[in-house]
């Protein structure tokens, strides 16, 4: 079992999904993130707050169709953390595959 470079903030599956979206778009709206993560509004709010508190995500309110919506964007710190977390996940899988191959 390896723990190298895994990021505790990005560890929960919903946060990893949010990060995967934000790593590929400039900004994502709350409803879109809820649709992708398939969690409730309150759970998504908590995940976004945790990501914002860690400095990984920037949140802003903006009008769309006459309603205020929440938009989330990755910060540079978030991008870097996500890249590191993904590298750690791949390293875990690769080391397991190498161990199996060596048997």
């Amino acid at each position: 079992m390896s723990t190298a470079l895994l990021d505790a903030v990005l560890h929960p599956p919903a946060r990893l999904q949010i990060a995967a979206v934000l790593a590929n778009v400039t900004e994502a709206e709350f409803a879109r993130l809820r649709e992708i993560t398939q969690v409730s509004d309150s759970v998504l709010s908590k995940h976004l707050a945790a990501l914002a508190e860690a400095g990984y995500v920037r949140l802003r309110k903006g009008p769309l169709d006459g309603r205020q919506r929440t938009w989330a964007a990755f910060t540079g710190k978030g991008q870097k953390a996500f890249a590191g977390h993904m590298a750690a996940l791949r390293a875990l899988v690769e080391s397991a595959e190498q161990a199996v191959a060596a048997e």
Partner: protein, 153 residues
């Protein structure tokens, strides 16, 4: 916060979830044809603006700016995301290619205007560039989609 513990099966599941999310995002690369056309129209207006004198130059500048805003609002409303054309990744080279082509077309428009070529020729150049911009828009979307799906493969 303590570093989480994870075994290789959990890691594989996490990577698969990320791949599924990217595959979801690939649908953003499925723009309707009119969206490409609208982009081409806006870019054509930007170029034509260099081939005419004030006040038409300013009218075209305003119209192209308004068009860009309408397209961005449409994307935000329809997809719930905004993707900067210059984002990091394989699409950046496509975006830079479009910018280079736009500067060439703009310089040609200025030249045609300065040597007094008829308006119809300047309109034709803007129309051709609009077509080029449509092609770039299609290529950009295909490249984005492929990038998302390649990760998910």
């Amino acid at each position: 916060m303590p570093t989480p513990m994870m075994n290789s099966d959990d890691a594989r599941d996490a990577l698969a979830a990320v791949d599924r999310t990217r595959a979801d995002l690939a649908s953003l690369g499925l723009c309707p044809p009119w969206r490409h056309g609208a982009f081409g129209l806006v870019m054509g207006m930007v170029v034509l603006g260099q081939g005419v004198h004030a006040p038409w130059m300013w009218w075209l500048f305003g119209a192209s700016l308004a068009g860009a805003v309408v397209i961005a609002l449409h994307d935000r409303r329809k997809y719930g995301v905004f993707v900067n054309g210059y984002r990091r990744g394989r699409t950046r080279i496509v975006a830079l290619g479009l910018v280079a082509a736009m500067f060439v077309a703009m310089a040609l428009e200025v030249w045609l205007r300065e040597i007094g070529e008829p308006l119809v020729l300047r309109l034709a150049l803007a129309a051709v560039f609009g077509g080029v911009a449509i092609w770039f828009s299609v290529v950009w979307n295909r490249t984005f989609r492929r990038e998302m799906l390649d990760h998910a493969a």
